[in-house]
Amino acid sequence: MDERLRSEDETIRLLRESAAAIAPRGGPLSRIRALRFTLPGFSREVWQEIAGLGWLGLRLSEAEGGAGLGMEACCALAEELGQGLVPEPLIPALISLPFLPPALRAQAVAGEIIVLPAWQEEPGALGPPRPITHFERGVLSGQKRFVPMAAGADYFLVAAAEGLALVPKDAEGVSLVTAMTQDGGHLGTLSFEDAPAEPVSAEPLSAGPLSAGPVLAAFAAALDEAALATAAYLLGLADRAFLLTLDYLRTREQFGRKIGTFQALQHRAADLKLALELTRASLWQAARRYDDPATPPGERQRLVSQAKARASRTALEVTAAAIQLHGGIAYTDEYDAGLFLRKAMVITPQFGSADWHARRFAELSPPDEDL
């Protein structure tokens, strides 16, 4: 193994270890339970810890006050957070950081303020190429939907047709309506009525595809990175739901035997393992190639779509099977298996549904490739 790879592995190992401060492997989920169905549904103290661990600057360059790590590191961290069902909106927050003015960014990296991106208008889609939200003459008008954990934000980075704009949550003309989600978090609908906002870029989104200008290309790439990190989060949660299930198969007895001795269940478990390994392979392939500067943007998008489509399917498949393989006990709220299913239901469609990514994968794939 060459030196560069080895030192990267070491960084990732340390990062995974540091994640244990917030989401210890297989640790108790009592904090997660207690935060469910509250607003904002996550903890500012934990957010401070996250900042203290340097995770907010993970993807920023050293010049920007960050660690300059790649998507492999980012995905490793997201995977750890997923196995712990961490509700703090780290993945969306990472999107906005590179676009913030330096002073605000420093505050955000320090965990003092939280800036969440508000980009989505259609369910299941990764970024509308032609948003109906407008930013003209310094004011925003329109609506953004499905903003995860919006009630916990201080600012929103809004993707309008005319470019990116920054708006405080409590600004005049901004209203936020939240809807609880099955995992105990929420999604926000943001309405803007002539809300005064700060321009971040003046590149129009409606001029063409998201990749029109450098800032918007960067924004589109940030969304892709969030999609990939979400795939890693989903892998983490699916993996843990699977481990919980394996434990149960090894201990629960019926008919005088461990239920794990029944071949019907062994085959189910084998199939789930297969789904998880496909997901893992697809995810790490995407992360590694994403970090390779030689990989062209279209190929990055294609690999992200491949991984996210797979992870979304696997997360639902594994968490639903976890319920089935446990029997009655998993249909209770007291038992943890349901926490994984509910989280999967909410996270699976985020940053592009399986279907959306499958379509983009097809569009970006050369005809007859691999045939």
Binding site: R145, A179, Q254, F255, G256, I323, G328, D333
Partner: protein
Amino acid sequence: MSDAPVIPPRAPDYNPLDDEAFREVVREFLAENYPPHLRFPPHRLHWAECKEWYFILAEKGWIAPGWPRQWGGMGLSPAKQIILIEEFERFGAARLPDHGIVMVGPLLLRYGTDAQRRFFLPRILSGEHIWCQGYSEPNAGSDLAALRTEAVREGEAWVITGQKIWTTLAQDANWMFLLARTDKTAKKQEGISFFLVPMTSPGIRVRPIVNLELHDEFCEVFLDQVRVPLDHLVGEINQGWSMAKALLGFERIFLGSPRQAANALARLKALADHLGLADDPHFQRRYTEFRLDLADHRALYAVHVARLREGEALGAEVSMLKVHQSELFQRITAYMLEIAAEYGGLLEPIGGNRALHPGGLFIQSRPVSIYGGTNEIQRNIIAKNVLDLPG
């Protein structure tokens, strides 16, 4: 047994009507009588919430569609029962606490004494007795015959001690039918008897359990030296297992009815309309496949219900119905989640419209392959008892 009515039927005999005319009767009745605030309930309703509907059906004589007319039922043909169920589901009518109707009634009609029938059946019809099913125990789920709740004869009473779990709506029931061990020395299936127990008996404690729908729908039931008179045993002593097996046949055919899948399909269509996907060719393709599955399921279901009505004992084949309907239901709700994307993760129905709740329905479809015998167990039954495979 003569055919003179013991309990006069309140409803006319609808069997002579043609199917479409009967469907119309049901629709009209629902439109005029169903309490509007109970349509498409977000979860299984508690007795206090749904009893008004129970009483309306009781008054009309429609509470027991499958019971013979002689015992106050509707005596409906299988085909008409299906129509009734379908129309209720389509309308979004709540499922009632129906263990008395679906389980206890058929049990007593088949194995009960005349005195038991005359005492219990009218009280089920009127809604005075609401029943729950005490079979499962913490260590006896799929392996039900391993149950440890014990009944000991003391003079003129049976004294029952043990623990039941996953007892649906036990907190609302005033009676429980349960299986308890009456002979610890016999083979495990041969020492079990069937009891009818008032939930108001001293020594019963009920702990509701919050389920995955975040609703307190099933319970743990603790029985500590609960005394019931000797005539609260059904059939012969130590014959409880075979009666329960026969009843599971009824339960499985009920669980194999197309109602949940049919309802889910209607909701899928409503969701697609709402999302503007109804004309999308991808959607059309999937939707059509589900419709075919449902149509074939109905055909298979009708075959089994017809056998039942002709007095044939239900064999292991009913397991096929349960497996297919539960998994079709689950495939439809999984697809709903797929097209709903972010909406599928919402805790509440879309726009407050209870007919549009993909996430809720997805969760509700999970336990259908667990209760009433898991689908793994059903497949074991098909392999062993239908296919006669070795092992």
